[in-house]
Amino acid sequence: MINSKYFFQGFKSIKGLDSPALALGASFIAIGALLKNIGFNLGQSIFSTFLTYALPGSLVMAESFLIGASLINIFLAVWLVNIRLYPMTVSLMPLLLHKSQPRWKYYLSCHFIAVSAWLIMKSNYQSIEKKHRIDFWIGIGTGTWSIAIVSTIIGFLASDYLNKDMMIGLAIVNPVYFTCMMVGAMKSLQISLSIILGAILGPAFFFISPEWSILYGGVSAGTIAYFVGEFK
């Protein structure tokens, strides 16, 4: 059903020097500690990472829960902050689609789409035959998702021992890891421009609309970069 050779090849991407394990671990340890502090029990914290597996979404959930927001408000806030997953999926799945593979693999494994797994897949897909890419992807996804769940447990259990310095240190690891991965991904003019413009326009739109800044900044930066790349 799932080709184990490619599955494990993908799963192993959590080892090695470009492993996302540290960054993912650091941020989900912080999530585990945060969920404990807002009153979740261990089972609920695990359940949350298991089902959501998207960092900004979990942060928004925690904030909204604390202020007692309604379920519909939580839904809208999370949907908005995680809407980036849509262009991420659309720019990944066509690379993995193969007619010999069953559809359920795609609908189930899209749950693994998150920045870390996405960036690893984007930089490695060309080395895998198209037919086997989905199994390779399921391997990457299972690996990164497992790290997130285990780290949530560690963070929950260790929360009493994490002081303010450690929490601040943990919080910077994720943006630093992603920034380095993005710099590593700048291989064409179009992609480099997308990244640089996104990094400028995202915070710039924050002054106009904090909630929509990532979407506005991202879509306008990506569109400019696309046209510059196409018509240069």
Binding site: A54, L59, P94, V173, G198, A199, P203
Partner: protein
């Protein structure tokens, strides 16, 4: 107690549904998009720039713990880490570990 815990389960379910929705719709759209098409290329650019926007926002306008550090310290730590990444043949372990230590130390000694 059971009311609160029911509420937590609902909050988790709503959060995960709101998250899965974008992933699910992405797969539905992907079925009609060829990886060689222009629309695919456009979405690819948008995906990278949305991520860059998200990461830049995490550094410039952070939420939570990071908000308690000064912005110039955060920017300094990110720049030093990227330089470290480029000078260690793209090793990701050194810059990530160093960034946590740098930020914790600088935040203590340079805080305003």
């Amino acid at each position: 107690m059971s009311d609160i815990s029911n509420n937590i389960i609902l909050v988790i379910l709503v959060t995960s549904f709101a998250t899965y929705l974008s992933r699910f719709l992405g797969v539905v759209s992907s079925e009609k998009i060829k990886d060689t098409s222009k629309i695919f290329k456009w979405f690819n650019c948008i995906a990278y720039s949305v991520l860059a926007a998200l990461i830049a926002r995490m550094v410039v306008f952070p939420a939570g713990e990071l908000a308690e550090s000064a912005i110039f310290i955060r920017l300094f730590v990110v720049v030093v880490s990227v330089v470290m990444f480029l000078f260690t043949k793209r090793n990701l372990v050194y810059p990530t570990v160093a960034s946590a230590i740098m930020l914790a130390i600088l935040n203590n000694y340079l805080s305003i």
